[in-house]
Symmetry: C2
Subunit: 213 residues, 2 copies
DNA sequence: TGTTGTGAAAACCTTCACAGCG
DNA sequence: CGCTGTGAAGGTTTTCACAACA
């Protein structure tokens, strides 16, 4: 089955929330609870769970553990997925810290930077390689996903190197839009756009509900 | 007129691209050029520009400078908008650097951190205040937008303080979903969700076109 | 009673396709 | 001729509303 972008995003958010609930010993949850935590409507939650074929029970709601497992079945790659990071400035280090002890499914297995002073350092448990080793290391790890955390002028160049090394998906944190062949899946996190959007909608006094991400 | 979220995002991207073109002395641009730079279809660009009432000319396309101005008329607040940042770790510093010399419209006018060692430092041209001064400084600057760059456990707490100080829109960079009254516009940049999305769609060999942000 | 599951409707967004123009 | 501007069509996503059920 093919899930839409929006659905994948919501499933990911549901799972984060469910894991939280699990830690608090919750075993079941109602659609309206999950909905208000996730910032969507209860009907949306029910529809999403219906789409992935997870059933609840009118008395107790949905089973938390089972739902986490079913979402995992959709989102996670069976053997886990390796991710590489390019750029170890403030942003790159922030991302490493973020994913430091994250879910086993996605692991940042290598970082690259052109600053020779950083070579072979271990930052947040992750080894830093020079750009020249990119091809070789990416191939060795079998990573399919890359994170671009370099300044605007290097971004396009770095993206091309990653694609040549076999990467299929990119998280682009630079303010530059990448021009890529269309078999590459690119997600831009453009902070300038995000802030402009917030500025715009917070000016209008909209009673606005917001979805994750 | 009310613009949709998607449109605001695209307008913001168009503007970034147009400013780039302006620097390269381009005076006019065709819908299909802007489209391929922005990663959308030409029809979409024409529809968007129609919506904001900007007309082109079948011979030369759309005037770059005029379009930048019209988009600005929609996106920018007349007097500019002040933004405050909470959290001066790696992520916070990366954001400051990012917006260091950004467009005059959005300015980060103050940063807050609970680490006493950072008090009164000037980071990237921006003064750092203690959390206790938040209320007072936000009121003084009239900021309406806040950026949350603190670790997960502090996020909800910080968001509430910002709301109490009068903030109306939030950029949440923590992995925590915020529970907010619904007159507050929240945008979550959840890296975990983004990465999971990329991992998912890059696995399926979709010939996928991607829109900004 | 309060919840799930779900057809059907509504809302929204994107693309098509072509007339009209420079 | 190749582009813009746009009504109409098409597609997708969200919400409604209610039967079925524990």
């Amino acid at each position: 089955m093919m899930l839409s972008e929006g659905m994948v995003e919501r499933l990911s958010v549901y799972r984060q929330l469910l894991v939280c609930l699990e830690h608090r010993q919750r075993t079941d949850v109602f659609s309206h609870e999950l909905a208000s935590l996730a910032g969507v409507t209860a009907a949306q939650v029910r529809r999403d769970l219906m789409t992935i074929g997870y059933s609840g029970n009118p008395r107790r709601g949905y089973g938390v553990a089972g739902l986490v497992a079913v979402i995992g079945g959709y989102l996670d790659s069976p053997g886990g997925q390796a991710v590489v990071l390019v750029g170890l400035g403030n942003l790159g280090r922030a991302i490493l810290a973020y994913f430091n002890e994250r879910r086993q499914g996605l692991r940042i297995v290598a970082a690259f930077d052109r600053d020779p002073a950083k070579m072979d350092q271990i930052v947040q448990g992750c080894r830093c390689y020079p750009m020249e080793k990119l091809q070789e290391v990416v191939a060795g790890t079998g990573a399919q996903v890359g994170i671009i955390a370099v300044p605007r002028d290097g971004a396009q160049q770095v993206a091309l190197q990653l694609v040549r090394a076999g990467i299929r998906g990119l998280l682009n944190l630079s303010p530059m839009r990448l021009v890529m062949p269309d078999y590459i899946y690119v997600e831009d996190l453009n902070m300038a756009s995000s802030l402009e959007k917030i500025a715009f909608f917070s000016r209008r006094q909209t009673g606005e509900k917001k979805v994750a991400q």
